[in-house]
């Protein structure tokens, strides 16, 4: 039989979450190709939106794909290129970041960024009281970061909790460490930190420990679901007591669904929005993948 070619395009992993995503994608590729000999999955990652647009062109002109699973670097710039793929008749599955024109994708699988911010805020609100001080370390300036941050701030509004300052730590451990060091020098009284991301949180924790300010009920909330973080939650860490899930496995879900569209008899379409679950010591075990790099 004709092999069915499915292109899978996503950003080059430059931080742990994306690496996790890459790992899940590769696992899914192996699994699905073993399962269906006539399915060929082609995984391509790209370092920037422009390169990703080029990669999409190559998937069409060279590999003549029948379906595309794409995690766009950014929504806006990739809308047109994905539309061009669509015009070749390929099935389109969009992951994580929605395109800026409706109706292009046949299938949509996504995490929920505003929800991540909101869930984090709800947790922190619950542990703090009016007059308490927190600092925020943000990611790389992007829409994702904005969505998370705006939802967080909206939820915090009116609680009387002071947000002393927020700086970009670029989803990077080193930046998290240095920004936190400077926050600590600058603000003598900090009660909690929203680090938004587990990588940043690692840097924050190191800075807190270095300054000896990790006691007194201080806590840090990260996000994404890094396996080390989940492990330490399971072990009952108090400094990072919870995590907010933003599952890197969503790409695998998307690949599964896309393959299913060819293999199952009924039509497959629709939107799959994954929740931003709060991971606590109680439920942590079910989110723990020790083999994943993330």
């Amino acid at each position: 039989a004709e092999t069915i070619k499915i292109g899978v395009s996503y950003p080059t992993p430059t931080h742990a979450w994306a690496a996790g995503m890459n790992w899940h994608a590769e696992q899914a590729e192996k699994r699905l190709e073993a399962l269906y000999p006539d399915i060929d999955l082609i995984l391509i990652n790209s370092p920037d939106p422009n390169a990703q647009a080029s990669a999409l062109e190559d998937l069409v002109s060279v590999h003549k794909i029948d379906a595309l699973v794409v995690l766009p670097f950014e929504s806006e710039p990739l809308t047109d290129p994905v539309l061009n793929v669509k015009k070749t008749g390929a099935l389109i599955t969009v992951v994580d970041r929605g395109l800026s024109q409706p109706g292009i994708e046949d299938i949509y699988v996504a995490g929920n960024n505003p929800e991540l911010g909101r869930v984090s805020a709800v947790y922190m609100k619950g542990r703090l009281t009016s007059g308490d001080n927190i600092v925020v370390l943000r990611g790389i300036p992007t829409i994702i970061d904005n969505e998370r941050f705006d939802a967080f701030m909206a939820e915090m509004e009116g609680t009387g909790i002071n947000i002393l300052d927020h700086k970009h730590a670029n989803w990077n451990r080193d930046d998290g460490f240095e920004v936190m060091q400077d926050f600590l020098s600058r603000f003598p009284d900090i009660d909690a930190v929203w680090a938004q991301d587990d990588d940043i949180a690692i840097g924050v924790v190191a800075a807190l420990k270095q300054a000896g300010r990790d006691g007194d009920g201080m806590f840090v909330v990260g996000g994404a679901g890094m396996k080390e973080t989940i492990k330490s939650i399971m072990d009952g860490d108090t400094l990072v007591p919870v995590d907010v899930l933003y599952p890197p496995s969503m790409i695998a879900t998307a690949m599964d669904v896309t393959v299913a569209a060819f293999k199952s008899n009924g039509p497959v379409a629709g939107r799959y929005i994954l929740g931003a679950t709060l991971i606590t010591p109680e439920n942590a075990a079910s989110f723990y993948f020790p083999d994943s790099p993330f």
């Binding site: 003549k64 950014e74 992007t142």
Partner: protein, 325 residues
């Protein structure tokens, strides 16, 4: 004799790459892929033509990628704003293009003046403006993405996606810029002056060359090239963000040097630069052709190929070593 080898170096490297591409996947030589390749090379190629002048005159410009992002951002803001009065037609697009060119010339002029009048090393000036432009576009986009109104995109689209006589519009722009660049470098006094300044600034000064003015001009040309590249880039993705044009500066400089221009200045080859840009794009293209190699090792392959491509080309110089000072 020696000249043939120098000129042929990048061409041979490109040829070998094409053979490798074809062997990996015959679709490499399909018309569609070749067209994609050429169109893609246009961005870096056009910018690299400008960079050839800057480098030939002994300068360097690290700001081009950020400059492209900033110009794209401002262009989009202006066009979106103009739509209300001018509508989504040609007028708005022309306004956007005009502004892009003005911004490019201005940005280049700033780099040039800071370098020449301010007597600050070009590396520092353009490292500074690189940071400035990049953060400005983030600021304008409020950390997100600036996107062109979809109504305008319809009008503007052909500038990237349209074809004339079977060749995509960006390729025509690339060809036009290359020819102008080549003429400017090889057939005008300006090109001669750039070479002279890069070769020995004191000699240039004693030879009645207005060194500061010519150097500034090279940055202005660089700015113009960036704005042209941006004009054809914007309709491709219809947006600009902090990640637009990241690393373009290194790619442009790499294209220039792969093409045989000397980083310390004094010797510039526009033809080589164009081949250099094609080589870089082809490497990226070939890596998309195969999943033999772990994606993570793309950078390794890219690095190896660049080094080998240049080495092949320089290898022959060994024979002409005696003539090397």
């Amino acid at each position: 004799m020696r000249f043939d080898i120098k000129t042929a170096g990048p061409a041979i490297a490109l040829f070998l790459l094409c053979i490798i591409g074809f062997l990996l996947n015959p679709a490499f030589l399909s018309e569609g892929n070749l067209t994609n390749l050429l169109t893609r090379s246009a961005f870096i190629g056009i910018i690299a033509v400008g960079a050839t002048f800057v480098i030939t005159a002994g300068g360097i410009d690290l700001s081009v990628g950020s400059m492209a992002a900033a110009i794209a951002g401002v262009m989009i803001i202006i066009m979106n704003a103009a739509m209300e009065t001018l509508g989504p037609g040609l007028a708005t697009v022309l306004l956007g293009g005009g502004c892009s060119i003005l911004l490019g010339l201005g940005a280049g002029w700033i780099n040039g003046v800071l370098t020449t009048k301010g007597k600050i090393e070009a590396f520092i000036v353009t490292l500074g403006t690189m940071g400035i432009y990049r953060s400005l576009v983030t600021y304008f986009a409020d950390g997100g993405t600036l996107s062109l109104d979809f109504a305008i995109r319809g009008t503007y689209r052909p500038v990237y996606y349209g074809s004339v006589l079977g060749l995509p519009a960006p390729v025509w722009v690339f060809i036009a810029v290359s020819i102008c660049g080549w003429l400017l470098m090889n057939r005008t006094a300006f090109g001669r002056y750039c070479t002279a300044i890069g070769s020995n600034e004191s000699v240039a000064r004693y030879s009645a060359i207005k060194v500061d003015r010519i150097k500034t001009m090279t940055y202005v040309i660089q700015g113009l090239c960036v704005s042209l590249a941006t004009i054809i880039y914007v309709p491709r993705l219809g947006s600009a963000s902090a990640s637009t044009g990241v690393m373009w500066e290194l790619e442009a400089i790499a294209a220039v040097i792969i093409g045989g221009t000397v980083l310390k200045g004094g010797y510039g080859r526009i033809g080589g630069t164009i081949l250099g840009a094609l080589i870089l794009t082809t490497i990226g293209n070939i890596l998309n052709f195969t999943d033999l190699i772990s994606n993570y090792l793309n950078g390794t392959m890219q690095g190896l190929i660049i080094i080998i491509a240049v080495w092949l080309q320089r290898g022959d110089w060994g024979k002409a070593k005696a003539s090397k000072s």
